[in-house]
Symmetry: C2
Subunit: 330 residues, 2 copies
């Protein structure tokens, strides 16, 4: 680390990557050391200007950043070369295909990166692959916290807290509302959501052109309503024993791509039985004014700080966001 600051690299500069750059720029304990996208990367030993990154729009890529930007056909490989300059990585890459992020992590660790990680991984099969890298991370004395966004992440961690009042948990229901005024800022996220619709899957969603996505959204007045999504909240909650079976966790929600107003309030409801045998539900409700960016990236950076703490305490491996309290990043 440079002084007391954690040198952070953000992989990917879609909607979440840009928000991450902006928030890191507001923190006195973190420095934005490097960013990359499909066209190149940018690195500055003393830290990139977060606003410059956050304000990149449309076809502007990080390689266009004056002085620090470079084009590259293998921008991830360029970041790996900087491994010893980076303490912490937030993975804001597309979640699809499922093995994409796990393979990137494998490549970084095999390439010599020894720092810590957090991600906002969503799908269960992808997270299973991440946990499969536990031995690799332990050998490299690295720490990886997965599912550290909003759901899984913020809401899943709240479920662990809520579970404490009950001796048996029956059901965890996560019902989210997301409002984004312009879906093009969240292309990868929207494709992932479409993959959950009946008749669609990961491959089909990934293969869709932007025009096809636009057409699909138009046919639904810009709204997607999703039920029983394959979300890794189920894996994370069984892992820590909140529920016994994955089908006790249900994730769904409504995304409105034509308004920043949320169509419903995002709510985690945990229902269980107390020691007296009484059935009840605790709820965790997010304020409607909080954006997806705030609710995903805030926790991801809080978990990144926790990952630094774990490494300092020589606790290595791949962990879920349900295993540790995120820290408050100043």
């Amino acid at each position: 680390m440079a002084g007391n600051k954690t040198n952070v690299a953000v992989l990917g500069t879609g909607g979440l990557g840009k928000v991450a750059a902006r928030i890191i720029g507001m923190k006195s304990s973190m420095k934005l050391a490097a960013v990359c996208d499909s066209k190149g990367y940018a690195y500055a030993e003393n830290g990139l200007d977060a606003e410059t990154v956050a304000k990149l729009v449309g076809t502007e890529a990080v390689c266009n950043i004056p002085q620090y930007g470079h084009t590259s056909k293998d921008s991830l490989g360029e970041i790996i070369k900087l491994a010893d300059k980076i303490d912490a990585i937030f993975v804001a890459l597309p979640n699809l295909p499922n093995d994409f992020i796990p393979n990137v992590v494998k490549r970084f660790v095999e390439g010599g990166y020894r720092g810590v990680w957090s991600d906002a991984l969503k799908r269960t099969p992808a997270m299973e692959m991440m946990f499969g890298l536990d031995d690799l991370l332990k050998q490299a004395q690295g720490v990886y916290i997965t599912g550290a966004g909003a759901t899984p992440g913020l809401l899943t961690a709240a479920a662990v807290i809520a579970a404490q009042s009950f001796t048996k948990v029956e059901h965890v229901n996560i019902w989210w509302g997301v409002g984004i005024p312009n879906w093009e800022d969240y292309k990868a996220t929207i494709r992932e959501d479409i993959a959950h619709l009946p008749g669609y899957n990961v491959e089909k969603a990934k293969a869709m052109s932007d025009a096809e996505i636009e057409q699909l959204l138009n046919s639904r007045s810009g709204r997607l309503e999703l039920h029983q999504m394959e979300h890794a909240d189920d894996l994370l909650l069984t892992r820590v024993g909140v529920v016994e079976r994955r089908d006790q966790v249900e994730v769904g929600g409504i995304i409105d791509t034509r308004s920043s107003k949320k169509p419903v309030s995002t709510t985690m409801t945990l229902t269980g039985y107390t020691f007296e045998g009484k059935k009840s539900s605790h709820r965790f409700i997010l304020g409607d004014e909080t954006s997806m960016g705030a609710n995903v990236v805030g926790p991801a950076l809080g978990y990144l700080a926790r990952a630094v703490w774990l490494k300092e305490h020589k606790i290595y491996g791949v962990f879920g966001s349900t295993e540790f309290m995120p820290m408050v990043v100043v």
Copy 2:
């Protein structure tokens, strides 16, 4: 530990102590090894029957437990003699006076106890004394998690999770409702609550006879409404940086001593500003059917399991419930 079970001692057998005994009896990973009250103690190497302890009423003391009960004028001293038979202690002793629990902990550690602890400590000055024992616990390779009940505890931890969405937290408000059909099961708790009323303090509340308490409750139809309580949520949340100042945390509530129905839903509301400058509030709302016992003792045992984990990882000292995720106890 005996096999894979954590040998737990419960200090105090008031309302919370009895609930703790009952819940420990439902767990396969914990064993109720010892309990004590002002008249004596009970210990069984293979574990006490939790229901026998939980069903003690009125003047029945733990010394009356067949085969395992013993009278003693220094029951805490008797438990200290069993130090090497006990892995974990839940402190369910009266919170008053403020130095009572810290002094008990000091005596145990100086007497050779090397295990872990959790408590449901409420008042800020008492918790400050607990954190003052950090060096002592570190030297003894012990782990103590304080403020591990409902508030502070469950709701305070939820505030740490909620804070993740915001770059600046303005205010944390905890407003609780408690309904108990018979105040005599929670004599110490009610005295503590009375100490928060205008015109009362800790000494005055402690000096009140049961008849005087009864009279006070009668004059208020059995209800106490408390505002700006001196609750250690403020200390715990400043400690981890959720807020900068203690006065940004406010705790109050209504206790009804004549009904098990809660007069209001217990709610933690955290209000802050997102990175975009938007003001919003996340809320964590407890189900009305959950009792004080369930919401205090469940988390306290979850934190006790986390304390065991911390000791296994050689992380020692006094910590707050806002620093670690409670674990799910099977």
